[in-house]
C-alpha cells in the first residue's frame, strides 16, 4: 500500500463529513443544487457498473427512473403509504420491470442493445402516459405537504431551526447522500466479490471466461437487475424532492441518461471513483456556465468528445495511470507467502 492511500482515505472521509454537515451550515439553494448532483452521481454509479463493468451500454436507464418515480407516486397517492416506503417500492418496481426488459434486450448486442433499451424506455413512457389515475400525459403532483410530513422532518426542523420545507430538503439530501455512499460501498464489495471477478473476466474475453466456468448471461442479468433497483430508488427519491411528475420529465433520456453517461465517461468509465470525479466536474461546469444558456450544453458535448478521443479511460483513469494512485483498487493480490505450500489444498487423484 502506498503512503498516499491512507491520506486519500482521510481526505475522502473529511469531504464526506463536510457533505453531511452541509444542511446545517450552507444556504438551502446549495443543498438543493447538491441534491441534483448527488442524484446524477447515484445514477452514474449504477450506469458505470452496468456499462463499464458488465459491458451493457444501456441508453434506457430513464425507464427505471420513471418507473421508480411513478411507483412512488402511486404508493403515496393511491395507496396512502409513507413516502419513504414509496421510495423502496419505486426501487422494487424498477427491478420488477427489468426482468421482462432484460428478456427482450438481452437478445441484442452492442449498439443494438443500446437502441433496444432506449425503445423499451420510450414504450414505458408512453404506457405510463395512459395511467389516468396519475394524471396521464400531463402528470400529477404529490399531495400538499407530503414532503413536510415525512418522518424526522419535525425533528430536523427543530434541530436546525429552519422552515419545514428546508428541513424536508435536508432530509432528502441526506438520504441521497447516504444512497450515494451505499452505492459506492456496494459497488466496491460487489466488484471485489467472486461475481465481480467473473465480470472483469467477461469484459476481457467472453469466450475464455465461458471456458473457465463463468456464465456471462447470468452475471449480466444479475447486474442489470441490481442496477435497475438502484436506479429506481434514486428516481423515486429524486421526485420526492421535485414533488411533481410528468411522463416526459420522469422518462427524460437527456436528464437521466445522457448527463449520466457524460459524467461517467469524463470521470472514468470502468473505474469506481470515476463517476465521483465526473460529477464534481459536471457540477463545476454547470456553475461556471450557468449564465450562457445553450452554450453550456455545447461545451459539455465538446468536453465529452475530447475525453473520448484523448483520455479513453477518463480523467480518473489518466490520473491513476500517471500516478499509480488508486483509491478503490479492485485487484486481488496473491497471498504473502509466495512460496508453494506443500500440496495443502490440491485435489486428490
Amino acid at each position: 500500500m502506498t503512503p498516499s492511500r491512507p491520506l486519500g482515505l482521510i481526505a475522502a472521509f473529511a469531504a464526506l463529513a463536510v457533505l453531511y454537515a452541509l444542511p446545517a451550515i450552507a444556504p438551502r439553494a446549495l443543498v438543493q443544487d447538491l441534491f441534483g448532483v448527488l442524484t446524477l452521481l447515484v445514477l452514474a454509479l449504477n450506469w458505470n457498473t452496468l456499462a463499464g463493468f458488465a459491458g451493457l451500454v444501456s441508453v434506457g436507464q430513464q425507464a427505471f427512473v420513471g418507473i421508480g418515480a411513478y411507483a412512488m407516486f402511486a404508493a403515496i397517492i393511491l395507496m396512502d403509504l409513507n413516502p419513504l416506503v414509496g421510495v423502496l417500492i419505486g426501487g422494487l418496481a424498477a427491478a420488477a420491470f427489468a426482468l421482462p426488459m432484460a428478456f427482450f434486450a438481452f437478445r441484442l448486442n452492442g449498439a443494438y442493445f443500446a437502441i433496444g433499451t432506449w425503445v423499451v424506455a420510450d414504450i414505458a413512457r408512453l404506457g405510463i402516459s395512459q395511467w389516468k389515475a396519475l394524471g396521464g400525459g400531463t402528470g400529477t403532483s404529490l399531495p400538499k405537504g407530503t414532503a413536510k410530513d415525512m418522518a424526522f422532518v419535525d425533528r430536523i426542523k427543530a434541530a436546525l431551526d429552519v422552515s419545514s420545507a428546508a428541513a424536508a430538503d435536508a432530509l432528502t439530501y441526506w438520504l441521497m447522500l447516504t444512497l450515494a455512499v451505499a452505492m459506492l460501498v456496494a459497488g466496491h464489495v460487489f466488484l471485489r466479490s467472486r461475481m465481480g471477478l467473473g465480470l472483469q473476466a467477461i469484459r476481457d474475453n467472453e469466450t475464455a471466461a465461458r471456458s473457465v466456468g463463468v456464465d456471462p448471461v447470468r452475471l449480466k442479468a444479475l447486474v442489470f437487475l441490481l442496477t435497475a433497483f438502484g436506479t429506481g430508488l434514486c428516481g423515486a427519491l429524486a421526485f420526492i424532492q421535485i414533488t411533481r411528475v410528468t411522463p416526459d420529465a420522469a422518462f427524460s433520456v437527456i436528464d437521466w441518461t445522457a448527463f449520466v453517461i457524460f459524467i461517467t465517461v469524463i470521470g472514468g468509465i470502468g473505474t469506481l471513483p470515476g463517476p465521483i470525479v465526473g460529477a464534481v466536474i459536471f457540477y463545476a461546469l454547470q456553475r461556471l456556465l450557468a449564465d450562457y444558456g445553450t452554450i453550456y450544453l455545447i461545451v459539455l458535448g465538446c468536453l465529452g468528445i475530447a475525453v473520448m478521443l484523448f483520455a479513453r479511460r477518463g480523467l480518473w483513469g489518466v490520473f491513476t495511470g500517471r500516478t499509480g494512485i488508486d483509491l478503490l483498487p479492485l485487484t486481488h493480490r496473491p497471498p504473502k507467502s509466495a512460496a508453494p505450500q506443500p500440496q495443502a489444498s490440491r485435489r486428490t487423484a
Binding site: 471477478l197 472483469q200 474475453n205 475464455a208 473457465v212 466456468g213 486481488h332 497471498p335 508453494p340 489444498s345
Partner: protein
C-alpha cells in the same frame, strides 16, 4: 469406465464435414495425443468436446453422463478443462487473478482455499514469480504456461491442450513437457493436439490421427507412426 467418450460425433460447416462420425474413449488418467494435417478438424473436435460447438449428430459422455447439450461453463464445472491454441488471457487481470477466476468458477473452490490453491498451481507451472504481473504483457512461453495453469485451476479431470508447445524453442518446450508430465503423473487425463511430435510422444500413451474430419487410426505411438498411410498423409505434408 471411460472418463470421456465420444460416440459417432459429426459436424458439418455447410458442405464441409469437419468431424465425420468420430468415436473414441479416454480412460481416467490416460494421455491421448491427436495429430493430423492443418484443417483436419482437430480444434473443432476440442470445441465439440468443450461445448463451444454443438454436434449435428452423436454424443459426448463424461463419466458415462451425456453432456452433449450442456453449455461450456457447465462442462468445465463437470471436469473438462481446456487451453486455447492462441492464448486468451484476461489481459487486464494479473496472472494470479486469471487463475482465481478459473478456480472460483470452474473449479468451484471456496474463497478461503482459493488463494493457496492458485499459488500452488502457479508454483507448479513456473509462474509464481510473475503472479502479480498483468497477464496482457507476458512473453509467449509464459502465456502458454498461463493457459495451462488456468485450465488446471478449473480442477479438470480431463484437460484438453491445443498446440501448447507450438512456437516455443526446444529448451522452452522441454520445460513445458516436464510440467505436463507432472500434471499427468497426478492422475489428470490429458488429450493433447500437437504438431511438435517429440513433445507429444514423450507424454502420451496413445496417438490418434485425424484427416478430413475422420479418425484414421488410433493406437500406440510407434505403431501409428510406422503406418505407411499415416506417414504419407501426415509426414508427407509436413516434410
Amino acid at each position: 469406465m471411460a472418463i470421456l467418450s465420444l460416440q459417432s460425433v459429426s459436424k458439418s460447416f455447410g458442405a464441409l464435414k469437419v468431424s465425420d462420425s468420430v468415436s473414441f474413449e479416454v480412460q481416467p488418467g490416460e494421455a491421448l495425443g491427436i495429430i493430423g494435417p492443418n484443417g483436419a478438424g482437430k480444434s473443432t473436435l476440442f470445441n465439440l468436446i468443450t461445448g463451444n460447438i454443438a454436434p449435428d449428430q452423436g454424443k459426448v459422455l463424461l463419466d458415462g453422463r451425456d453432456v452433449t447439450r450442456l453449455p461450456p461453463m457447465e462442462r468445465v464445472r463437470a471436469g473438462i478443462g481446456r487451453s486455447f491454441q492462441i492464448p486468451q488471457p484476461f489481459v487486464h487481470l494479473s496472472v494470479y487473478e486469471n487463475l482465481l477466476v478459473a478456480a472460483r468458477f470452474g473449479g468451484e473452490v471456496g474463497a478461503a482455499e482459493a488463494p493457496g490453491f492458485c499459488m500452488d498451481i502457479l508454483a507448479q507451472t513456473g509462474l509464481a514469480a510473475v503472479a502479480e504481473k498483468p497477464s496482457g504483457g507476458l512473453p509467449l512461453l509464459q502465456r502458454k504456461r498461463l493457459e495451462l495453469a488456468r485450465a488446471m485451476a478449473t480442477k479438470p479431470r480431463v484437460i484438453l491442450l491445443d498446440e501448447i508447445a507450438g512456437g516455443l524453442t526446444d529448451a522452452e518446450c522441454g520445460e513445458l513437457i516436464a510440467t505436463i508430465k507432472a500434471i499427468h503423473a497426478e492422475g489428470t487425463a490429458i488429450i493433447w493436439i500437437e504438431h511438435v511430435l517429440h513433445a507429444l510422444t514423450s507424454v502420451v500413451g496413445r496417438l490418434m490421427v485425424l484427416n478430413f474430419g475422420r479418425m484414421l487410426m488410433i493406437g500406440a505411438p510407434d505403431q501409428v507412426m510406422a503406418s505407411p498411410e499415416v506417414r504419407e498423409i501426415y509426414l508427407g505434408i509436413e516434410a
